[in-house]
Symmetry: C2
């Protein structure tokens, strides 16, 4: 990565889609006040590296429901989702701030349980809770802002022609749980955990940065959407071999119930909070990654000259859509 590639102050191109047209329009309105938007984190240069910041809001009825997950899990999940952006930047978390809205009819016990989840997610990455705000509102919402320090941040824009594309962990588990709930079934424990208790891949992000990662993005919108962001930001084409996707528990049965291939189900599922990373063609340390980080690292594609993302399943190109929330 050249320094220019990660210079704060210049925006990263986003993939296609009306959701991202909206963000492009916001960047247009912000004009010179916008500070390098379109990456997982905002970056501020400091004497010793960069400060990385990100904000993420989770809304009851849009991102989660209390008949699916506990209050504590809602707090964990909202915080983990924000911390995942630090992971994708290869940043070390420092702190968390949390602005909540709660219905007047809700008991204080729910607030305290949500904050226990925020606490546990912060503690798991050695971050502190450094501020908060609380308002009444028609539903619960948890807006979490995280910040950390990155000596050499990895943005979405550094992928190079010939790089391999890899993913951490296994995909589709969060969508499998969501799909089960939405159809009146209880998800299996593993899939439920992927939705209710996602793990921000902080250690994995740092490991990958130390082993040559050229670009990185966390899988919040789903592989189908996020691969397009990485391709657009890096200004190249990406080809994803869907047959090689590492699949989470229960993806097979939920994909069957929906009538789509399991790879499509996983690639279109959001909120797995795994990392998509480009690495030099010579990278051959996936076993060391698995040993050090406790999760698999799987090669699923490569970067080439051109633009856009091609998804190939059983030798045929297929069209995939990004993830939308259920609410």
């Amino acid at each position: 990565m050249t320094p220019a590639r990660r210079l704060p102050g210049s925006h990263l191109a986003l993939g296609p889609g009306p959701e991202f047209d909206r963000i492009r329009n916001i960047i247009g309105v912000l004009g010179p006040q916008a500070g390098g938007l379109g990456d997982d984190c905002g970056l501020v240069e400091q004497k010793d590296g960069f400060l990385a910041l990100s904000t993420d809001v989770s809304v009851e009825g849009v991102h989660f429901r209390f008949d699916w997950i506990t209050s504590k899990e809602a707090g964990w999940r909202a915080t983990a989702a924000a911390l995942s952006d630090l992971a994708a930047e290869a940043a070390d978390p420092i702190g968390v701030l949390c602005a909540l809205t709660m219905p007047d009819s809700s008991p204080e016990s729910r607030l305290l349980e949500i904050m226990a989840g925020v606490r546990d997610a912060a503690a798991a990455v050695e971050a502190q809770v450094l501020g908060g705000d609380l308002s009444s509102g028609p539903v619960w919402s948890v807006a979490v802002t995280v910040f950390g320090r990155a000596l050499q941040p990895i943005t979405r824009r550094g992928a190079e022609v010939g790089n391999g594309l890899w993913v951490t962990g296994r995909l589709g588990g969060a969508r499998a749980a969501l799909h089960a709930w939405l159809h009146g079934r209880q998800p299996a424990a593993g899939a439920r955990s992927r939705f209710a208790h996602p793990q921000p891949r902080i250690a994995a992000g740092r490991w990958l940065a130390q082993h040559g990662a050229t670009a990185m993005i966390d899988l919040s919108d789903g592989l189908a959407g996020d691969a397009r962001h990485l391709a657009a930001a890096s200004g190249l084409a990406v080809k994803i071999n869907l047959d090689s996707l590492p699949l989470a528990e229960q993806v097979r049965s939920e994909a069957l119930a929906l009538g789509v291939s399991e790879a499509q189900f996983a690639a279109e599922g959001g909120e797995d909070y795994e990392l998509l990373v480009s690495l030099p063609e010579s990278f051959a340390a996936a076993d060391a990654f698995a040993r050090d980080c406790g999760i698999p690292l799987t090669r699923i594609g490569e970067a080439a000259r051109g633009n856009g993302v091609e998804f190939v399943l059983a030798g045929r190109s297929i069209d995939l859509h990004g993830f939308s929330h259920f609410g």
Copy 2:
């Protein structure tokens, strides 16, 4: 101020009240993960001073209504409210992050106007917009996180026995506008502006820090509530002479309509975003402040041994309440 007084990691005492009991309970749940809560900003020590951070959520129907203020004003106001916490810490703003929820039925134009207000508030203090998130939700909410740098942050805890208590600007204008709207009247332009377009007192905060401020807090909950926080955090008693309060436009007429004294109306009114500051008894530069900052600085009381806040009007102690939102 001794270094121990502004050491991050220890919590500041808050004033009495059920809203603040709730925050005390949250701090209890967070345990060792809580990083010095109870001040206007969270502080993180760096090589050259401190990073100061704060988060603040504004909710449609609780903090504002679109039949009162424009979308752009809603964006300005939410951002100014958060920036006001940096002012109270004597911090230099660097950046702003903004997590919004919007109803699916709302036009994108409203989103862009809100973001234009965020942009203008950030530009007014030379901060950049460094991140954001957007979700659907039942009402509009704007959660703004701000951060800045403070060489010598001023917390709420440094007031000393014998210090004078001073306020910037004029009080009660935001409440006067709110009271007018709630009773079907249009507020006068000056009062309306105090509600719709508050000014974060960034330059004033820095000026006061450079001229001996020992403690500072922004007036978001109202003088009645915020003076209690300053007294509790500093571990002393505060006496406020309500007859000396500098009053904003339209406070007199709205107080008359409500049937309370204008000083009580102003002291119980929130969201003026002025600063309450303690200064050494020897401080005599209010004229210089007014010349440099363009707003008055008025002595309204003093700090003494003891605890709690006494509000005196026409020679008699009176009981005052903190501000609650209308929603």
